[in-house]
């Protein structure tokens, strides 16, 4: 049986989604994305400056990768901004997918959960397939799922921090409560081991950008993450042992030479 990730009915083999920002050069971006094996790449929108050829070079490079596009609404602070940006994304990129971001605090770019729920409802009603970037709050997750979200993107830690999973308990609670929802940890992953941890918990996928783009060698790091994600997923499927507080010998001691039973 194939082991895939479901994004609103689209089955993906790779459990890595990858961003297109912050790379040292367009070529390194392209090579790192290819090396990652990701089937989904995120991108965004900005005002066009014809003197800079309207971002044509970037757009052509992204198209040449042949991946699913996941536009975000980065930088939006209000429902109106986010909804407008999603509508523009759909027209430009010809996709109903939107990674819905609504900033609630500029210090840590924490999503605004209240406005996020409002914008999600509007966009779902307009036929968008909303992938909301949310905190790890279980109740907000419930509101989003109740509205019809089939995918949630809770943070591991704030965007670009590389701190990993700050609250594994909260993420596990979301996993356990919504076993049918596709969970993608978005933001905060800094190292391959963070991704492994997420996948071991049963998180379905991770979205990476800074961790790859800001590595000394982004292409090698993309490969490292791909292996770490596979490893974490297989660990989850294999089922981890139960943790214990006391030692238990791993080597059978019966009939061992030099064994001295005390007492």
């Amino acid at each position: 049986m194939s082991d895939t990730v479901n994004i609103y009915g689209t089955e993906l083999s790779s459990r890595m989604l990858i961003g297109s920002a912050l790379y040292p050069s367009p070529k390194i971006m392209s090579d790192a994305i290819k090396a990652s094996g990701a089937e989904v790449v995120t991108l965004s929108l900005s005002r066009q400056n014809p003197e800079q050829k309207g971002g044509q070079d970037f757009w052509q490079l992204i198209q040449s990768l042949g991946l699913h596009l996941l536009p975000n609404t980065a930088g939006c602070h209000s429902v109106n901004e986010a909804v407008n940006m999603a509508r523009m994304s759909r027209e430009i990129f010809q996709t109903d997918w939107v990674k819905l971001e609504l900033v609630g605090d500029d210090y840590n770019l924490q999503p605004d959960p209240i406005e996020l729920v409002k914008a999600t409802e509007i966009l779902l009603n307009e036929g968008f397939k909303v992938l909301p970037y949310c905190t790890d709050d279980l109740v907000i997750a419930r509101h989003l799922v109740d509205l019809g979200c089939e995918v949630l993107m809770p943070w591991g830690s704030p965007i670009g921090t590389g701190k990993g999973l700050l609250n594994p308990y909260a993420l596990q609670a979301i996993r356990d409560r919504f076993p049918e929802t596709t969970l993608i940890v978005d933001s905060g992953i800094g190292r391959p081991s963070h991704a492994t941890q997420a996948l071991e918990m049963g998180i379905d996928a991770v979205l990476l950008n800074t961790a790859v783009a800001h590595a000394n060698d982004p292409i090698l790091m993309a490969k490292a993450f791909a292996k770490a994600i596979d490893s974490g997923r297989e660990g989850y499927l294999a089922g981890t042992m139960t943790e214990r507080n006391t030692a238990s010998p791993s080597t059978p001691t019966i009939d061992s030479p030099f064994w001295h039973q005390e007492g």
Partner: protein
């Protein structure tokens, strides 16, 4: 940008040099492509041409 009276949005975009693919915000609201050719601009209208950039 100064434009002639009565110009429609599509003509304005050509003068501006907008490159496809793009989407339009007219006075901070999304205006679908189907309406570009039938929307006349008036004094003070704010047009923003939006296109793809890198994102995470």
């Amino acid at each position: 940008m100064e434009l002639m009276d009565g110009i429609d949005l599509r003509q304005a975009l050509t003068i501006f040099g907008a490159l496809l693919p793009y989407a339009i915000l007219l006075n901070e609201s999304f205006l679908p492509q189907s309406e570009h050719g039938i929307t006349k601009l008036t004094d003070g209208d704010k047009v923003e041409v939006i296109s793809a950039i890198q994102g995470g």
